[in-house]
Amino acid sequence: MLSASERLAQFPGFLRANGYGVGGGDAVQALRAAERSGVLDQDVLRWSLKALLCRRGDEWQRFDELFDAWFLPANRWQAPQRRDAGDGAQSAAHPGGEAEGERSGDEDVRPRRAASREETLSSADFSALTEREHALDIEALMRRLARQLKHIRLRREARARRGRRLDLPATIRRSVASGGTPFHLLWRNQRSVRPRLVLLIDVSRSMVLYSFFYLRLARALASELADVHSFIFHTRVTSVSQALHDPDPWRAQERLHLVAQGWAGGTRIGESLEQFNREHAPRVVHGRTAVIILSDGYDTGEPQQLSDALAQLRRRARRIVWINPLSSRQGYAPTCQGMQAALPHLDLLAPGGDLASLRAVLPQLIEALH
């Protein structure tokens, strides 16, 4: 049995095992706080530790439960079990050496065949590429694509920069050195205004061959550009920005699988967008946001609902672009109900079934995002 102060000292560690972002110094702080607030009154201790150890909203919501689990005697034995479960999930999240080995093996051969492989890759439909070994090449290609996206935009900004503005305070300040005569004029740089990107990726069954690659695109984009927010949807919307930020691509993928319950089920685009409007849009979408929807438009919900949700999103966002993997196929017309309902609200409907078509559509995409 632990003494009260030991139990208290180990509480931050318990929170860490439950995914809280508490650091080593927090244990000391917790003890200090407890000194002030006393450990006898359960509620006072709870409130104090809650303010001290929580960092964000979701941690705040879960805190009481964890506090009870750790400090209330009745549940004492639940705590270690919980921690074990947490560790188990984590070790399951890296499938360890196997993936590692595969990757390094791939690395050996890549330089030799990279050039020719790239060509075939960029014109192959994503749906034809399911082998795992292609994944890293695709990642590199996607990354290049993302970089291109960034550069083109920056260049456009540079060209569009017209009419410099005088920075008066700085000019006067500089002129102090020359007795108040402004010999050197200083100019204010145009603040580069970058649009925020919000990606909504359809991961329903009909998209199963494409969504994997779109997630890679999202990952590559997020690592190249600062302000990218990614969501996946099938029948409901889930944020995957955090999971995609994982530096290890395999672990990121595993985390995504954990996040996406009901992955590859049916699609209700309208309902998902409605949920997005309700739960995420007020926070994520502002006047400089470009929303990019990556979906085939096969919707099992009401077209009217989709239309309404898009109209609402349209008012909030600056641009809405829809990338449809099917429309790069010969003879495709956006005839399905979902696409029909969506079309009036879109700034651009672009094909995106393979890398070549994504690349071809890039200038248009950038034009639309501008």
Binding site: G21, G23, Q29, R32, A33, R36, S37, G38, L40, D41, D43, V44, R46, W47, S48, K50, A51, L52, C54, R55, R56, G57, E59, W60, Q61, P169, I172, R173, S175, V176, G179, G180, R191, N277, R278, P282, R283, V284, H286, Q312
Partner: protein, 301 residues
């Protein structure tokens, strides 16, 4: 069992209440801890749940000044910390030029003078640390400022000093109580979160909101106040783009009182419709409130 701390919390709650703010004990505990540990308090929550109000009332009960820094996109160090008063500096230089009596030694002195505190414009952050009495520093909506500014702020919050190249380092004469609010439009850095105490403020429940309405709008009768709060709580449970905050509740109360509506019932649905603009703030949400819905909600109150 009542510990000393619990008593202190209750006392603070009462004090806050006298100043016009209804606080949960958790918030009061965090405020005490903030004073003990000298840490900033980070408040998160939806717009209109009374985050900014916390700083105001804190200044009020400490009988100290509230210094507010409203963050916005493109906020830079000059606007937040300090700036030289260039116009006056120039004027001083010109005057100096025409002052023919000035000797060489005098000149050096004058030059020093030009970069002295006389020509320094204090912006909120510098002002906050150079006040004699520790003020309350409210950094409002920090998520609107960019990450670079956040880093600047971190430096201030850890050392409580600002370095001005021409003048040297200005150390805090007193440590302000720092309250930071965020609406969550941008993810804040972990470094900032680590330095702060955290408090998530949710929409108030029925009892709390009733207490707030009673406190802020004492002219509304008890029965009406109950109905108002029940109505607003029901509205919040609906799926709206923009849920009404506490400010909206109070606005609406004022609107109802102004129109001499003393009871909310089915018969008055028409008149309630007229006042809804104080509660519902977007067109889409307004569409969700046809007469029947209002009548149904009113009947349930």
């Amino acid at each position: 069992m009542t510990s000393q701390r619990a008593l202190a919390i209750a006392a603070l709650q009462q004090e806050l209440s006298r100043a016009g703010y209804v606080a949960e004990p958790g918030l009061a505990a965090a405020l005490l801890l903030m004073r003990d540990l000298e840490r900033p308090l980070l408040l998160e929550g939806d717009a209109g749940v009374g985050k900014t109000e916390v700083a105001k009332v804190l200044a009020d009960i400490n009988r100290t000044r509230l210094i507010r820094l409203q963050c916005y996109e493109g906020l830079d160090a000059h606007a937040a910390m300090y700036e030289w008063n260039y116009q006056r500096q120039l004027l001083a230089i010109k005057l100096l030029e025409h002052d023919e009596r000035a000797g060489a030694k005098d000149l050096a002195q004058k030059e020093q003078d030009i970069f002295s505190e006389r020509y320094l414009l204090k912006r909120p952050l510098l002002e906050a640390i150079s006040d004699q009495r520790p003020p309350v520093l409210l950094i409002d909506e920090i998520d609107r400022a960019d990450a670079a500014f956040e880093a600047y702020l971190l430096e201030l919050l850890s050392d409580f000093q600002i370095s001005i190249p021409e003048l040297g380092t200005v150390r805090a004469t007193s440590r302000p109580l720092v309250v930071i609010t965020s609406n969550g439009t941008r993810e804040l850095s972990d470094a900032l979160r680590r330095r702060c105490l955290y408090q998530y403020i949710d929409y108030p429940d029925y009892d709390k909101e009733l207490a707030i309405v009673r406190k802020k709008a004492p002219e509304a009768e008890a029965r009406l106040a109950q109905q108002i709060v029940a109505f607003v709580q029901a509205v919040r449970r609906m799926e709206l783009q923009k849920k009404p905050g506490i400010a909206e509740t109070l606005d609406w109360t004022a609107a109802l009182l102004r129109l001499d509506i003393s009871v909310i019932d089915i018969g008055g649905a028409e008149r309630i419709m007229d006042t809804l603009s104080a509660l519902i703030k977007t067109r889409d949400d307004r569409v969700a409130f046809p007469r029947e819905v209002v009548a149904r909600l009113a009947a349930a109150c």
